[in-house]
């Protein structure tokens, strides 16, 4: 049974901020939603409330960066790039301010629907010069995201998981290094964020069906270790399947397509994720199933690549975690 960690960001941020005097905690009226309410209450002198005004918050953070501070901006991911995009470019990205954008509710991890679901954030952020892009996939990565982001000489966008988060890894994020979770020789599966847990659900069944899986987990989307990745592509016979909690255009799947094409790898690629569609509001398991982001969808993608059925049924996959909608961890509450 996978260990669940409740609100790992809260303690991790507090620890990091207290050890780094130039870190400031900025919030735009989503303080408890971003798990920094305890920090606000215990360290009000390090907390800067900027209200529902993200455009000002972004440029204000640029000014704080100019004064030598390293502000951590807390909001839902969508509010850190959609509304204040111009400010993000001019006040943060261009001058390479050490601004840390902590984007909660990545992809479909919220029932809030289109306005709350950051489904194209990676595509946007990845195309911005000077920007680093990180994504958390488990509790250990959430616990290490602050230190990882704060090690970057420039702006960083992070997809942060909140509430109850499973612990899948026992080592912290090492910026720029992909995690090698399996080193098989048939199919290379590449996942990031919550998609990695789905891939892990497939693993035993696929091994049972004789499919040798190579599995990479990506927490550093930009910069990307191209050489290491291409070695993994060369190591498999059938091709690559990518599953991501994002539209398939511009995200990790696109990144991998670009690298494989430029290298002339000649291998097939199946990209799984939201297919040129917005999502609507609903529970995470429902949305993952409805939009083809879960283990079943990954299995189908692998079968497409193999050109044959594996004979694995949905019931053969490891069980998905389902939290009660009104459970204490409130993973999906607004």
């Amino acid at each position: 049974m996978v260990e669940m960690v409740n609100r790992p960001y809260a303690a991790a941020f507090e620890k990091h901020a207290l050890a780094n005097a130039d870190v400031l905690c900025l919030s735009a009226d989503l303080t408890s939603s971003c798990e920094i309410d305890g920090f606000r209450d215990r360290h009000p002198d390090r907390f800067v409330s900027l209200g529902m005004a993200e455009q000002n918050m972004m440029s204000f953070a640029g000014g704080l960066g100019l004064a030598g501070y390293r502000p951590f901006l807390h909001s839902f991911g969508v509010f850190l790039y959609r509304r204040p995009y111009d400010q993000l470019i001019a006040s943060v990205a261009y001058p390479r301010r050490k601004v840390r954008l902590m984007g909660f509710l990545p992809g479909i991890t919220t029932p809030g629907g289109m306005t709350h679901q950051a489904i194209e954030d990676i595509a946007v952020m990845r195309s911005i010069p000077n920007m680093t892009v990180l994504e958390t996939g488990d509790a250990t990565e959430v616990e290490s995201i602050c230190a990882a982001a704060d090690s970057i000489d420039g702006p960083v966008y992070c997809r942060v998981l909140r509430g109850g988060v499973p612990r899948l890894f026992d080592t912290p994020i090492e910026v720029g290094r992909m995690r090698e979770l399996a080193l098989g020789k048939d199919v290379l599966v590449v996942t990031s964020g919550i998609a990695t847990e789905e891939a892990l659900r497939c693993r035993a069944a696929l091994e049972g069906a004789g499919v040798s899986l190579r599995h990479l987990h990506i927490h550093t989307i930009k910069p990307f270790d191209r050489a290491a990745f291409l070695d993994h592509v060369s190591a498999v016979s059938k091709g690559v399947v990518v599953l991501e909690n994002h539209v398939i255009d511009g995200g990790v799947g696109s990144l991998i397509a670009e690298m494989m094409a430029e290298a002339g790898s000649g291998k097939r690629l199946v990209r799984l994720g939201l297919r040129d569609t917005f999502a609507h509001g609903g529970s995470r398991p429902y949305l993952m199933k409805h939009y083809g982001l879960d283990a079943t969808a990954l299995l189908a993608g692998i079968e497409e690549l193999l050109g044959e059925k594996t004979g694995i049924a949905e019931d053969d996959l490891a069980a998905a975690r389902v939290e009660a909608v009104h459970s204490g961890v409130k993973a999906e509450a607004l």
């Binding site: 409330s49 209200g51 455009q55 440029s59 704080l64 100019l66 004064a67 261009y94 001058p95």
Partner: protein, 311 residues
Amino acid sequence: MENAKTTAEIADGIRRRVFVHAMRNNGGYLSQACSAAEQLAFLYNEALTLGAPTLPPVPRPFAGVPSADNPDYVTGAGYNGPAAPEFDRLFIAPAHYALVAYAALIETGRMDEAGLEMFNRDGSSVEMIGAEHSPGMEVHNGTLGIGLSTAAGLAFGRKRRGEAGEVCVFMSDGEVQEGQTWEAVQAAAHHRIDNLWALMDVNDQQCDGAMGDVMEVRDLVAKFRSFGAVCVEVDAHDLDALRAAKATPHEGAPLVVLARSSPTKGMAFLQRRFPRLHYVRFKSTEERAEMNTAIAEELGVPPVDLEAEAH
């Protein structure tokens, strides 16, 4: 730096330099010089505490944008002196006032007049729309409305560090149409950021014409006060009024000085162009010659030798 000229002389010099430049280059931001000459002269010559320039009098060519691969990158802020704790900082929020700001740097001995020859030339850092790397600039403000927020963040940080220097933003009134300006004022007031002040050139002009026709902004003094700033309104061309305005106490709140200006001050000929004054181009050779004679006479300088300037 020691003041070599009076502020009034510097204001006259700014208008002359911008006029000559516009004549020679077949157009330019003339009305911004008319409205803002006293304000920029006042900032550089009196109001701001600035150190000596840290960058060479003749600007270096464009040396690349900020990137991890460009470790030697610097902004143009060095023309305003070092970013030391005791010195003030200045942001030119309306980046299209760059020509006027460059003229102010020359008039106050911070940049060589050769710098203006590089204006808007390919490969030059003396860009038409002031960039971070342009003389006197520290941040990009070409997207209007972001300057005051950035300045508020810098001022908050400087206050937190106990630095004595203030942060000043030179603004344009068109920026009040952007919602971000009001977000910035409310944040600066909420956080009692009182080492921040803005001098706004209220010339009632914007790109499409008179502001009242494009988008009414109504009572700016009342709006700024409602959002929590201390706000005073003065005649932009009256230096004593600007001095008094800057001295307004504003403990616990940012200060906004609304400088009511004329976009044709010192170049009355431009009134014929009202209300399309944002960027003045000459409609004909005859008009250029007529404007050359008329404005030169008003500014007390000989007309620009247009024949000699012809390429």
